[in-house]
Amino acid sequence: MSTKIDERRPEAAPRRAGVGTVVRKVFGADWSSAAIALVGLIVVVGLLRPEFLSFTQLSNVAQQSVYVALMASGLAFLITQGEVDLSVGGTYVLSAVATAILIQNGLDPWLAAICGLLLAVAVGALNSVVVLGIRINSLIATLAMGWVLRGLSAAISGGRQIIGMPIDHPFFTILGGGEILNVAVSVWILVLVVAVLTVVLRATPFGFRVREIGSNEDAAQFAGIPVRRTKATAFLMSGFIAGIAGLLGLAFFTSGDPTSGNGFELFAVAGAVIGGNPLTGGRATVFGAAIGAVLLNAVSIALVYFNIPAVWSQFATGLIIISAVSVDGIRRHRRSPQDA
């Protein structure tokens, strides 16, 4: 038996530990297609429209991707367990609007931000009660929760943007407008979050539990893994991270807009999947999820360079999501006969 394995799967034999292998080991295996696609996209667009390659433009892409990339990073922990959180868009909006209202009423922006984060975590807690306590499928439960949160945001803001922020306050100047080494602070926060979550995913029992539940939930339960607690933690994390995204959005746009963040949850899920977090579960990569989200944003920005009318951009983005996921699916199918 063992000799047969050796023949079929050369990668099982000792191999050269190249830089790529090491990098892939650290960040998780399946992000490569999204990363290649992202680099390819930048190169192709850059060749046809050199102005796209300017540092300003590229950092603009990164900056605009931060919100969805953050959400996708948190979603990686849920998707690999066979759950999903479609309320991240709503959480983003609610934390931004609620924090803005508190600031408008004179609360210190930092304190208001902490309240906004707590609110976002509370949303995560509510999601875990509904999904794990009442046992409603997370797809439908969090989809509805997203509407609840957007509706709540619209109600408490009276449907209007919350403006009049003290834009000279460090909360806005640092998180919204600040730069370190010419790169927006929000991008650094994304980098930090991805790094921390990657360590959590790859080097803590929680990170392993998350993927093991995705591999075989019954076996995980039998091995003593606290399945419900692990899933609940992932919902709390997802809410917390969507809250961070909401605060960064508030700091950047300097207003709490109840109509913002449209479709963020779908971009985040699609980004996570494209980046190498299959919906079938068991595998996860935070880095890939973030890259996938950046890729989707880069596509929609690149479309502008080709004079594609704005009315067609949603159409094109949808097509690109389908083709990216299909390429990934085809690759997987080709690999699976060996795995079986």
Binding site: S2, P205, S215, F222, G224, P226, G282, D339
Partner: protein, 513 residues
């Protein structure tokens, strides 16, 4: 004159020869038993006869004409049906719908229910299944589901029917029902191939027997009257010594278990709907077996020992005098290991590397190695377990799914031993495991007990219970009916107690007691 003949069938897997010029010939209206130990090639031959796999060489003849089956569906269309151990019914659909999977009689684009009833009702009546055909299968007890499965095969009027270990699901009164079913099949001139490991039953219901040993036919279609249980057993086993040599060292097992002074105590335990007022104790160093038909409680009792199910009444105390905590996870933390034979569903993550499976309980679930994990150290530890338990895989990085059944089961054992348990509860741990790995696992259990573990084993393989356990507690309808040990411990005694709850006096053992 034979309905189905298989001749000169050979089949190899990798380098292992599963069948070597094997043959079987089944007459119409006759019940032909196919016997052999696990791994002797029975299931390979059954799979070849039903089109599930193709032989490397050899011929199949149906009514004298050479045939080739492209698939089980193809074999089915040509008149070869199979009723297997694992039921293939759709639980949410009605009995009627289940009897015509993908081949409902139609009237235009619609399903012709009247025609379905006309075809199905006589068969259900004949099988003695008195249920409304519109009832969903999920509401039927297991034994009746098995009848539906047989009915489903009969609807197509098969020429040949293979019954692959049907009695394990038929439960109480199994033999009577089986005799009845076989009578029905005989009257319809169906050629029946009967695969079972319950020899007494085989002797009482079959007409002819074929015995396989190591892929070779050692008894070819002989009349059952010429045989006794003893002669069949010796044909199955040959001159190989019955007691297997224990391959692993005792010193190795000693580090794998946590030793305690006092044992496991089960005191007046009653479980929801199954076990009634059961008390027993298992001391460190003992291997105690639990036997009983499905539904009479042994599996449920094991689940209670593992903390998956809580007793309605009574108490369980774990070795060391610890009162059993609440919940499965707390039991694991208290030193209980629950090794399931259902490794694909409950034991392993098939897509994950072996090392991650091995360290799952201790490192991931119990978090005993701290908040930050060093993967290379874990891989090394898993590698040590692999060499200790003789797990054959190319490396700890190989995916668990790429291993053979026996090695997979050893990985399941390794992951529990990694957590140094004091109580090891095993549920059919050698199901579908080849004979070599089985012997190794049995040896390991002996070593673990010798090292001071409390070992409780449930098995559907009675010979395994007899071979491994010092004593076996037999449950009948949820209560302990006997405890067998020493010379009194035999498969025939177990079988009788499991089926009737009592042991007939010596000499009066009727075949269909």
């Amino acid at each position: 004159m034979y309905t189905l003949e298989a001749q000169d069938i050979s089949k190899s897997y990798g380098g292992v020869r599963a069948l070597d010029r094997a043959a079987i010939a089944v007459r119409p209206g006759s019940v032909h038993a196919l016997l052999g130990e696990n791994g002797a090639g029975k299931s390979t031959l059954v799979k070849i006869m039903t089109g599930a796999i193709r032989p490397d060489s050899g011929v199949l003849r149906l009514d004298g004409a050479d045939v080739r089956f492209a698939s089980t569906a193809d074999a089915f269309r040509q008149g070869v049906g199979v009723v297997s151990q694992e039921l293939s019914l759709f639980p949410h659909l009605s009995v009627l719908a289940n009897m015509f999977p993908m081949r409902e009689p139609r009237r235009g684009p619609f399903v012709d229910r009247r025609e379905m009833l006309r075809l199905a009702v006589p068969i259900l009546d004949e099988l003695g299944l008195e249920v409304d055909p519109m009832v969903p299968v999920s509401r039927l007890p297991l034994a009746e589901r098995q009848l539906v499965e047989i009915g489903k095969a009969l609807v197509t009027k098969p020429r040949v029917l293979l019954l692959d270990e049907p009695t394990s699901a038929l439960e109480s009164g199994a033999t009577d029902r089986l005799l009845h079913i076989l009578r029905v099949l005989r009257s319809q001139d169906v050629a029946v191939v009967f695969v079972s490991h319950i020899l007494e039953e085989v002797m009482s219901v079959c007409d002819e027997i074929t015995v396989l040993r190591d892929g070779v036919v050692v008894t070819a279609g002989e009349d059952v009257g010429a045989h006794t249980v003893e002669s069949v057993v010796s044909a199955m086993i040959g001159d190989r010594p019955r007691v297997v040599v224990r391959p692993s060292g005792r010193a190795l097992a000693e580090q794998a278990v946590a030793t305690t002074t006092s044992g496991l105590r089960v005191d007046g335990v009653t479980l929801h709907r199954t076990v009634q007022d059961v008390s027993f104790a298992v001391e460190p160093g003992e291997i105690v077996g639990l036997a009983g038909l499905a539904g009479s409680g042994p599996a449920e009792l094991l689940r209670a020992l593992a903390g998956i199910e809580s007793p309605v009444r009574g108490t369980i105390s774990l070795p060391g005098g610890i009162k059993a905590p609440h919940g499965q996870r707390a039991h694991i933390a208290a030193g209980v290991a629950y090794v399931s034979g259902d490794r694909r569903r409950l034991g392993l993550m098939l897509d994950k590397p072996v090392w991650e499976n091995v360290v799952q309980v201790r490192t991931m679930a119990m978090g005993k190695d701290g908040a930050f994990l060093r993967v290379p150290g874990l891989v090394t530890r898993a590698g040590e377990h692999m060499s200790r338990l003789n797990i054959r895989a190319s490396s700890p990085e190989a995916t668990a799914g790429s291993l053979s059944g026996g090695n997979q089961q050893k990985v399941v054992l390794a992951k529990w031993l990694d957590n140094t348990p004091s109580t090891i509860v095993l549920d059919d741990p050698t199901r579908g495991v080849d004979i070599g790995a089985k012997a190794e696992i049995h040896g390991l259990l002996g070593d673990l007990a010798a090292a001071g573990a409390v070992v409780v084993l449930r098995s559907t393989d009675l010979e395994e219970l007899v071979a491994v356990c010092e004593r076996v507690i037999v449950l009948y309808r949820g209560r302990i009916c006997a405890e067998l040990r020493g010379d009194g411990l035999s498969t025939s005694a177990l079988l009788q107690l499991m089926n009737t709850g009592e042991l007939a006096p010596e000499g009066s053992q009727a075949p269909a007691s």
